[in-house]
């Protein structure tokens, strides 16, 4: 049964994590047995784990073209399902459940907020986002992803400077004949490769230096940057014999690994650069050394100050914080209520 509230976080039986976000009769980033229209905000695992169930149930699934490319790169079978609607940012999709718009979220390539208008009642799901540089559309009801504003991810950063510094760090290590492992979440990983190959404005890294990533991440890269792919060097697959030969000789190369793939024991002594994943509280600098490499904060999440600014622009009357994706949701709801006493704010689901 759907609740009376226009927005909610709805978990299925025996589920309390990564639940679906309901905006009216539209379900985002999760499965609901009563749903027929779904949306996926971006392709990170905690937001796309329910695709298979959704495909079996929903008539329409809306997502950004880049996210769709990444999803079909992860499992090519999804490509052949007719429910997909690849929708660009800020274009209207009309269906019986309402008018749906995807808005740029500035989290990873293709990431989107989902805006729904049902007969003048407006609802917004933030998804994972980073403010500013984000599209804004006002909404009466807002569902906030609660990994945002969490003090352990509240560190300040300048993404371009950090990516530039990463590249310089890589060059320095490669110049001293050392192989490098870069660990990042899918999406961010592709963004870093693109930055190294295209966006970085200084001296580039010779294409003789091999770049390596897993077969799946390579596919995602080639899909989401299909217009730029010709400018990239040939990427060696992590599973290939060619890569094994590089490892056997400890040859210099740059290995991009997603966090779901732990490096083999052979790579344990390589120089390691880790992006996000760890706590980056506000008092910590964006780049911090570790005993075997360096940590970089690319701040793919919004800080508490940014959330306050975001809410001011959205002007909601009611906010639901998503406690199925972060235990920080109740605290975030309180902080928002303290800053905006006029807004009703509460976490869902009740755990």
């Amino acid at each position: 049964m759907l609740s009376e509230e226009p927005i909610d976080i709805q978990c299925n039986k025996n589920q309390n994590k990564n639940c679906s976000v309901r905006l009216g009769r539209i379900f985002c980033d999760g499965y609901n047995p009563e749903g027929s229209v779904g949306c996926f905000s971006h392709f990170h695992q905690d937001h796309t784990h329910a695709i298979t169930d959704c495909i079996g149930q929903y008539d329409t699934i809306i997502t950004h073209p880049i996210t769709l490319e990444a999803i079909t790169a992860m499992d090519s079978g999804f490509r052949y399902r007719e429910q997909w609607v690849a929708q660009d940012y800020d274009t209207r999709y009309h269906c019986a459940a309402g008018d749906i718009r995807l808005l740029k979220a500035n989290h990873i390539p293709g990431s989107a907020q989902v805006h729904v208008d049902v007969n003048g009642v407006t609802m917004l799901y933030s998804g994972d986002f980073n403010y500013p540089d984000i599209q804004i559309r006002e909404a009466e009801y807002l569902v906030l992803d609660s990994t945002h504003g969490d003090p352990i991810y509240d560190g300040q950063t300048d993404r371009t400077s950090v990516k530039n510094r990463m590249f310089e760090d890589v060059k320095e290590k490669i110049d001293s004949e050392k192989p490098v492992v870069i660990e990042a979440n899918s999406g961010t990983l592709q963004e870093i490769i693109k930055h190294f190959e295209i966006n970085y404005e200084g001296n580039k890294l010779s294409h003789d230096i091999p770049f390596v990533t897993t077969k799946q991440q390579k596919k995602i890269l080639e899909k989401i940057y299909k217009n730029e792919v010709n400018e990239f060097r040939r990427i060696i697959e992590y599973e290939d014999f060619e890569f094994w030969k590089l490892v056997r000789g400890n040859k210099k190369c740059v290995i991009f690994l997603p966090y779901n793939k732990s490096p083999d024991s052979e790579l344990q002594n390589y120089y390691k650069m880790r992006v996000d994943r760890y706590r980056f509280p506000s008092e910590e600098p964006a780049i911090t050394p570790t005993n075997d490499g360096m940590r970089y904060n690319l701040a793919a999440h919004a800080s508490i100050q940014n959330i306050i600014s975001y809410i001011k622009e959205i002007k909601p009357k009611t906010i639901v914080t998503d406690s199925s994706r972060s235990g920080y949701a109740p605290r975030l709801a309180k902080i928002i209520h303290q800053s905006f006493p006029e807004i009703t704010c509460y976490p869902r689901p009740k755990l």
Partner: protein, 449 residues
């Protein structure tokens, strides 16, 4: 740890189940053509030959990994790898990277696959051989008993010796002939079309076993130890021995090798060490070991030693002269003022065997210090006539090398007779006293002879 025999039984059970699987998928086995070095009887590199080798490593740890790790026999085996020793081994490989992550990889679980690789490399056939199994098992078990132990190896460049592959031991460091795989890795034989000259003369390595609970701390310590061997060799006789880099676990099939401190070494005059000189090198090494160079009072000796070794490796003769003079100054003169007089007086007192010898040394040092000043102050090389004799720069340097070598050895003994406070000043005072008091000179010489 655990019962060796029970483990052995379970390991052979795993082997019995794995081998048919390997045979079934043998079409996926990659055969590579690899370069293998061949050496002259002198131990020097002769040429490479292409040899065909099956790549069991990729075949087992990548191609067949899922099939092999699904075997019940594999699952039984990894149950052995849960003791404290294996946890420490895994923690060593993990470093602090995974500290806050609940699901950590367990690298000990790769070991049964590595055993299988090693067995196949030795046997080169998909059948069971008890003899090969026993041989590989013994080596495997030895590794399991010393999980945290690493072997560090450094190529010894500019070094010649009749030391065999069995080696000689200097304290805890072994010098021995290089083997094929070491040579291939050091010289990057697989990719190099033309080897650098330095590799054509590479015949020996230094090795040491060292246990550590992390991947980072070992290298620094081993570098110091290897450098101490080189210092000992340099103090023994002429030559420019060097190590280009330090490699870890090249000969260990159970853990992947790595390396640090890759530096370019140029071909220089080799140090020729006879096997019988092991005792002398060990004495010098032990003498250096006795001195705590981190103590402030011993810094002057460390500077002298470093300048001496640097001086030996210089390609420019004038640079060499300056380094060697700095080395002597570090030993004999601790403060500014009348350096020429103090330096020549003290060196003559310590090194001179008789009055004539002392006078010759005194005149020589006075003159060479003057030459050094000419170079340092931009005048270039001043007259090289000493005691009415024209010396070539090579002859002067040769003499300085001997004086340096002799002086450092003497000071290595002297520093142990003095307390920490103002050690160098007190040694200098005693040398000055010895200059005017023959009885005191005799007493001083007892300290370093």
């Amino acid at each position: 740890m655990f019962d060796k025999e029970i483990f052995k039984t379970d390991l052979i059970n795993f082997l019995k189940k794995s081998i048919p699987l390997c045979e079934k998928y043998s079409k996926s086995l990659i055969i590579e053509e690899l370069k293998q070095p061949e050496f002259f009887s002198t131990g020097k590199y002769k040429k490479f030959n292409f040899v065909k080798k099956s790549n069991y490593d990729f075949f087992i740890t990548k191609t067949l990994k899922n099939e092999l790790t699904s075997l019940n026999e594999y699952k039984i085996l990894i149950k052995f790898f849960v003791t404290k020793e294996f946890k420490n081994y895994n923690a060593k490989l993990l470093g602090t990277s995974y500290e806050k992550i609940p699901s950590k990889p367990n690298f000990a679980y790769e070991l049964p696959l590595k055993f299988l690789v090693e067995y196949l490399k030795h046997h080169e056939d998909f059948s069971i051989s008890k003899k090969i199994f026993d041989k590989v098992f013994e080596s495997f078990f030895l590794f399991l008993e010393n999980l945290l132990e690493d072997e560090y190896i450094a190529p010894l460049f500019n070094f010649e010796s009749n030391i065999s592959k069995h080696g000689v031991t200097i304290n805890d460091i072994c010098i021995r002939k290089i083997n094929e795989s070491e040579f291939s890795i050091f010289s990057n034989l697989e990719e190099n079309v033309h080897l650098q000259n330095i590799f054509h003369n590479l015949t020996h390595v230094m090795t040491i076993q060292y246990p550590s609970s992390d991947l980072n701390s070992g290298y620094e310590l081993i570098k110091e130890k290897f450098q101490r061997v080189l210092d000992s060799l340099s103090l023994l006789k002429e030559g420019n021995p060097r190590f280009g880099g330090i490699y870890r676990n090249i000969n260990n099939p159970w853990i992947h090798y790595d390396s640090k401190y890759e530096i370019d070494v140029i071909l220089r005059n080799p140090l020729k060490m006879k096997k019988t000189e092991k005792k002398l090198v060990t004495q010098i090494y032990d003498g250096l070991n006795l001195i705590d160079f981190s103590q402030k009072g011993n810094k002057f000796l460390e500077i002298a030693k470093k300048r001496f070794v640097t001086g030996l490796s210089r390609t420019s003769k004038t640079d060499q002269l300056i380094d060697l003079m700095i080395s002597l100054e570090s030993l004999y003169v601790s403060s500014p003022g009348e350096i020429t007089v103090r330096l020549s007086n003290r060196i003559a007192t310590v090194l001179g065997k008789n009055d004539l010898d002392r006078e010759n040394i005194w005149r020589f040092i006075k003159k060479v210090y003057n030459m050094r000043s000419g170079i340092v102050h931009g005048e270039g090389l001043r007259s090289n006539e000493i005691n009415g004799k024209i010396y070539t720069l090579d002859e002067i340097i040769e003499k300085l090398i001997q004086m340096n070598r002799h002086s450092i050895m003497i000071f290595m003994k002297l520093v142990n007779h003095y307390n920490e406070n103002n050690k160098i000043d007190r040694i200098s005072d005693d040398i000055d006293k010895a200059l005017i008091n023959r009885i005191f000179l005799k007493k001083l010489k007892i300290k370093f002879n």
